[in-house]
Structure formats: C-alpha cells, structure tokens
Assembly symmetry: C2
Homo-oligomer: 550 residues x 2
Amino acid sequence: MGSTTNASFGLTVYRGTFIQLPRLPDTGAVKAKPELVRNQGALWVSAADGRIKGWDWQAHDDARFAELMTRNGWVDIDVDVDGQGSKTKVKIVTASEEKNEFFFPGFIDTHIHAPQYPNAGLFGSSTLLGWLETYTFPVESGFGNQPDPKTGYQQQTKAGETPLAAQTIYDQVISRTLSHGTTCASYFATIHIPATNALATLCKKHGQRAFIGRVCMDNPDFCPKYYRDFSAEDSLTATKATIAHIQSIDPTGSLINPILTPRFAPSCTRPALESLGALAASYSPPLHIQTHIAENTNEVTLVNDLFPEAGSYAAVYDRYNLLTPRTILAHAVHLSKDEKALIAKRDAKISHCPASNSALGSGIAPVRSFLDVGITVGLGTDVSGGYSPSILEAARQTCLASRLLGHTAAFEMEFECGHSHVKGEDEKQKQKEREDEAARVKLSVPESLYLATRGGAAVVDMADEIGGFDLGMLWDVQLVQLGAVKGLPESPLDDGEGDRVDLVRPGPVGNVDLFGTETWEEKVEKWLWNGDDRNVKAVWVAGRLVHSRV
Amino acid sequence: MGSTTNASFGLTVYRGTFIQLPRLPDTGAVKAKPELVRNQGALWVSAADGRIKGWDWQAHDDARFAELMTRNGWVDIDVDVDGQGSKTKVKIVTASEEKNEFFFPGFIDTHIHAPQYPNAGLFGSSTLLGWLETYTFPVESGFGNQPDPKTGYQQQTKAGETPLAAQTIYDQVISRTLSHGTTCASYFATIHIPATNALATLCKKHGQRAFIGRVCMDNPDFCPKYYRDFSAEDSLTATKATIAHIQSIDPTGSLINPILTPRFAPSCTRPALESLGALAASYSPPLHIQTHIAENTNEVTLVNDLFPEAGSYAAVYDRYNLLTPRTILAHAVHLSKDEKALIAKRDAKISHCPASNSALGSGIAPVRSFLDVGITVGLGTDVSGGYSPSILEAARQTCLASRLLGHTAAFEMEFECGHSHVKGEDEKQKQKEREDEAARVKLSVPESLYLATRGGAAVVDMADEIGGFDLGMLWDVQLVQLGAVKGLPESPLDDGEGDRVDLVRPGPVGNVDLFGTETWEEKVEKWLWNGDDRNVKAVWVAGRLVHSRV
C-alpha cells in the first residue's frame, strides 16, 4: 500500500471486493430502499486527479487480472521497474479476500464541533441549553485569548496566536475522525479567526476533505460575555477573514472549503442572520451554510419566543435566506409538518445526529418522515453532544433510534393524526397498522450506510463527486478489514487440562467475529454492529493515503 | 503481572488506583443514587482462596508502600527471592498512574445466550417472535444432532457428541466476554445435554464464573419440531443431567453453578413449569432460575392468550413458584404496576438488556420505576438479541435508553396517570413537572456502572461475594487502562510542510482520548462512553488471571 502522491506512476489499481450503496435517482434521498452492492475485480484511479477512471469486474482472479494488466500495457511498479520503458507503471493495492477486506466509500460527517472534542463523553445528565453553558462555551472560549480583565470580553486573538492546546485538539480530532474512516467532515470551529484558520490548515496537512465554519454568535441576550462576537458587523468581518484564509490555502476548493456557520437562531441577532444570508448569496455558487434546528423542545420554545414574527424555527432561517440547497440543518428532532415541507421546498439538507440526540435526551429524529417528503439526509457525529467521533457509531445509533421511534409519544400522535379511523374500527386492525408503521420507519443497515456515504455526499452538495465508486468520482475511500475466521484448536474441549490465560489471538480484527457461515451482506451487518476503528485498515482522500493501521 | 495460581507465594498485592461503586444499604437496588468511589494505595488478596484480605489507602507512594511491606514482613517475589526465609513472599501487581490505569470490579452479565453468539449483529429489522424463528432456533438447533429424517425431531445427542462448531462458538464467546471484563455470566445454553455440559466445562477451563442453564422448551404449540424437548418429563430429566455434570466438575459451586432455564412462558407447558419450580425448591439453598419476561408487546399478548387463568405474565411464573429471590427475569420492558409490585414482593431480580431492547425495537425498560419499588436490577448483553458481548456497551446503552425514556408514549401515560392534576392547572407547571420526571428517570454513568457490578452481583445472589472491593470479597476484577495523555509535536501547525500519513500513535489506548484536564470522575465517564476491550488490560476471577492483553 502506498501513497499515490508519488508521481512516478500514473494509476493506482485497487484489487479485491468493493462494496457501496447505489446512487438513487432521487438525489440523496432514500425513498427507494437502497441495498448494498458488491463487485469483485479491479478499479483504477488516476494519480493526477485522484479520480476513478474505470474498472473491470471480470478481473477477479489472478489470470484475468494479469490479462487486464497486459491488455492495458500496465506493469506493477513494485515488481518490475526496469526494462519495460514502453509500459505504464501502476501501483497495485489489494484487499485480501481471506482477511475479509473490502473497499467502502469514505464516511461523511455532516456535523461535528471540532473544538468540543476534549469533552467527548462528558455531559453528565444535562440537556441542550444547560450543556452549552456548562460544558461547551467554556471549552470553546479556550481557543482564543483570555477575556480582557477590564471589559470581560474575549479579544479575537491576532493572527498566529492559536493556543497550543487548541492546535493539539484540532490535530487529534482530525486524526481520530480519519482513523474511523471519515474522509470528509463539516466542522464547526469557534468564533476565533486564528484557531479557525489553524483548523483549515491542519485539515489540509492531514489531507482530510473539510468544510470549515467560523461560528457566528453575536446575540448578547443569549451568548455569554466571555464568548461571543462583539457585533453583527464584527461577526461578518471575522467570517470573511476565515474565508480569505481558506481560499488562500486552497484556491480551487479542491479539499478545504468555507461554510457559513450561524451557531443557531438564538445565538444570532437579526442583522447577523441577514448579513450571512446575503454573504452566502453573493458567491457563485452560493457559499455552504450550516446551523442547528429543532434539537430540543425548550430550544424550540426559545426560538418561538425570540422570533415571534417568523412563525416557526425553519421560517426564521428562511426569512434570512439561510435555507438553501447548500444548507446543512443539524438535528431536526422536533420539526412540524409545515417546517418539513418548507425545508423540502428549499432543498435544504438535514444532518441526523442520533448519538447526540440520545445522549442529551433530545429525542428521536423521525428520519423516515424526512425521506418521505424528499429531504436529503446525511449523518453527523455532533461531537461532543455526540460522544463518539465515529460515523459508524452514528450509523449504528441511526438503526437503534429508528427502532425505538415507534414507542415515542410523537410517533403515536403522528399516527393518530395521519390515520383518520372510522369510528368503531376494529382495535386489532388499528394495532396492526400501528405496528406496520413502526416497522416502516425503521432504518435498515444498508439505509444507515447509505446515509453515511451517498446521503452525506448529497448533504455537502457533492453527490457527483464522493460517496461511491461511480466513474469520475474522487477516490475518498476506506479499506475495511474484518479479519479472517478465527483459527482454534482442533477441539477446545481437548485443549489440554491445565489452566490457561486468554490472550488476544489472531484471526478476527477488533470485535467482529466471523464463523465462516456468513453471507457477504451479513459480514457488512456484523461490521455495522460491532466494528470500530480497528477495522479501518487504510483511508484515502482524492487518491492520497491519509491514514493507515500498521 | 502474574497468575496467582502459582502457590509459591501467599498473597498478591495490588497497587495503584481502585475505583468502585459503594454497596448500598438496600441490597442491589439503587434507590440512593450511588457515586463513584476512588481509593489509591494497596490491597491484598490471598492466593489460597482469591479473596480480599485487607488494604492500606495510606500506601499510595513508594515510601509508604515500602513501609507497608516492611511492617507486614512481606518481600516482593520478583525482586528478592533468596535470603529472606523468614519473610512472606508476595506478588505485586501495579496499575500505572501515568497510563491512567485503575482496578475496577469485573462486570456481571446477567443475561446472555452463548449459542447465539455467531448471530451477534444479525437480526435485520425483525422483532422478537419473528427473530426467534428466523435467526435463533436454527442456530441453537445446530448444537445437537441433525433432526431424525423419519420423525423430524431432533435427538438429544449422546454424551461427548458436541459438534465441533458448537465447541468453537462456546470457546469464543467465553474468550470475548472475558476480554470485555465480564468475570461472571449467566448463560442460556441450548436444549442439548452434551453441549450444555461442554459450555460448563469450557467456562471452568477459561476460569470464568458462570451460571449454566440448559434451555427448557417443550410446548409443541410454540416450539418448532426440530428444536424442542420431547415432553415436560424429558425436559426435567435432561435438566437434571446437566446439573449432575456441573456439580461433578465443581462440587462446591465455587465457580460454575447450574441455573434452571425455562426459556419463557410461551415455550413451556404447564407441567414443565410446575416441575421446574418444584425442582428449584427441592434444593437448599434453592436453585437459581432464569427466564424472560415482557420483552415485547406481542409476546405479552401471546402469554395472556396462552395463560388466561394467571392474570398477568409475572403471575404465570409466580403460579409455578418460579418467582423467587434467585430468579433472573430478563427484559421487563412492558410490566404493569401490579407485576412490578409482585416481583418486588417475591424479591425476584431483573436483568436490563437495553442494547437488545433497542436493536429488536422492543422498547425501553423503565429501570427507575423498578428501583423505585425496590427491585434489584443488573445488566445483560442478551447476545444475540443484543449485538455486543460487552457489558460496558450495555452500560452505555443503559444511559442512552434512559435519556430517551421521557419521550416515550409509555412514560407519557405513566406521567398522566401518576399526576392527578387540578383542573385548570397551569400548563407550564405541568410541563415543568414532566421535565423533572424525565430528568429523574435518567440513569447516570455511576448508576449504570453500579448496575453492571454491584447490581449484577445482587441479581445472581452474590452481593456479599463479588461486585466490589469489600473485605472478604472474591478478587473478580478488571484492570482498566485508559492510556497516557497523547504526546504531540511541539506545535502541530509547525510539523513540517510535507504530506503525512496518519499512523496510530502511542498515548491513548483504544478510543479514549485524555487531554490532561479531566478529573478522575471524568476519566471514568470517558471510559463509559468511548471505551472498549482495548481498555481491559487484565481480568482476574477469584484471584486467578484469566485474560490479559499483551
């Protein structure tokens, strides 16, 4: 396995098993239930642009692979470098069948707060608004200077003055997310210009595709004095400064892009929201936008109190032109039917963050109802409302939460409203319909993995570029290793009489145990339910190797 | 680190940090909210019986530890074995402070189906009754002979005829649970005598404390022909055969004990239930019993249809003397108030299995309501309704599920019934009370870990023996390693200009990232939320080292 940044060869040829979700006609949405697709053979990626140039699903044995090489005039750079001057050197990366390895599209984390990473797993039993005050604002404020002792306000740090602790945290969160197979992340940073710029620079260094958002929060009635923008104008100016930095380090936006980030409605004044909406629209294509919506019932009440003129939470954003096809709305646990319709109409996207929603007791987002009305959905870890930087964990929690949805009061109310039953209707029939609906709203393993890849790609408006193995797509991919079927003594019962100490033995990788009886779809299910970063053997972004386990 | 089965020394002295939950006055129950307790110093365990003989919480530095050694006339077997004839040789095991290691009581898995382990993570989107038919009965039936081609019945295999695949599965599930820190498990086996006996023998070999239950299921109206006991009488006879084997390999029951295991009410005829209740009572103390209760609403309906005379699911078991202080009832998601009162009155125990309940969409068990009425609760993985063999994962899911409880229709109904509001009452006040109740039913990290240790100990009726560091308790313990604070380059931003490939770097162990700012309670929280088997460095049962990571 090697980095394709070495320009001494033109192509990398990936051999083995490729598993992905199909791209559905309805971009990003999963109205049609996606099933896993497997191909075995070879696929090649250009070293020049990191894009998929072709494949051959016939070349799944050595003979036919050799034939493919000969036909194309390719020669393996690792075994035959001399005397083949006329041939094209290619790098070959093989996924081992015996070790149950397969290539899978990289995960896309559509909602993650990079500075909160030190708090992953720390939230006590708090809910959203208390958690912000107790855990979140204090840690985020540490990414800039100490508050001025006279005014109590935090100064924006000057260029280059990112605290070392902040750099360390950003470095670690990028390493961690890469190690879990996240090839693209949409990051909330903090309000600080230098630290936000440092996050962008570090993502570029690590080679992780990223959207970087300086957090806008200027409402003095909600944000603490020690951690907020001075004014709507300052908020805009500071945001523009981070955009300028990002565009200076990646002028074509091939890897790192800015994303406008009003924290959420309560933290922003009307002028701030307005100016951000206008800023987004002033670009062509418009800038990406990310924010939160309807995570928690008290938050919804707060927004309705603060913006009585809007009529709904979603309408607040719409009023300020922040509900666009390039807007990521995190959470969406407590949306009204009208809000869902509005979001669908504007083609704004939803980032589903089930680990966070469960951990903070926010509730269960009714994902199926989003898909029903054609809203595009991806997954987010929401570190550190979410405790884990892993999108595989988010996919697992997506399955779990959807299986509990049928037990919620919200589901019950929706069911009662949606089904105008004839009076005197058979109670058993009604119960049957309720069960069918509870079953329908469940998200399957393939659906969750769809949301984690194709869905996320559409959420960041890159459905043509990442999320699968389509021709021309970027090679943003993870190599998953489940491990071999475990070798055991002939008979465990006859394994000597003495005491023994259990050591970790070869065979399985991590916690995925295969017994040799599983179908390939079942192997993927086992990965979803018991897999972790140990199963991520290698990660590439745009063809560049960015993470590898020894 | 060494095994204390080497009798050349009399004591093992464990040095470092010890974290546990306190034993509450109300055995097993958590009516008082337990908080984590930490001690630093030394604790010693007898090699002869594997029990805790004393501790010194003053001996937390080298000087005072040396003083402790001298005072007791102890000498470290590893550094000074000669010329100290009059002194007592002791083995010293140290938990490293720098690597954030600490001793923690071993986990107790109060509900796990050993033969279902190959299905961990395989359940599609099924619910209980369909899952049994599609996934469970087929795999369990493989632990005996093929069904007789003439009769279609499965013969009980003869002694010694445990399929190799079955041995392999049992061997692996024991290895896996040990690697996750499970020192004691209450296992459901299958209906087969030889395979059940093999499970007991393998637990003894591995050194895992276990309760082993041959599954009783003789109801021809519910159980498939290819996998059931021939009759109630055969069910009893076969059960007695496995009890005889277990008592032959562990006459004093110091490690392995039998447990009567009527699968659940629908799978058993009335004569079978009756004879099992009588068999339990014929022993002194009575035999342990385990079964399922009220996991799924359709199952509850089925039981009410099958046993109309009983009045409730719990009452079915009570009618046949199966509701005893040594009975483990798994799940208990959908109990009535009367059933909870009956279970409390009989002092029967509940095994809470949240990973399974979420995965199969069974619902959320209202654990706080059990504790409110004084029912003892422990945790179960319920492999393979539960996807994970880890009790740490069960503890995590306990926290998550309890945070979603306030959103369920069942909670809403309970709240409405329990709070007789004055007409015209302030809606805001009512909302506040609802929120307070939703907050009250949440289970904290310490509470979940209490259930995983002290709670589980009480569930298996061993509250005096295991689950903590009390004087005289068995050393059933795990050594947890979180790892050091990660070392990083001076400034990640200045770390050279070239591309880099992220490799797994030293510092953190597994997915727990420490930044040096955490309190010790927060370190435990981080372990709960992001820990896995990588953080289990060593495991002892009754002082014997049974698992170790290299």
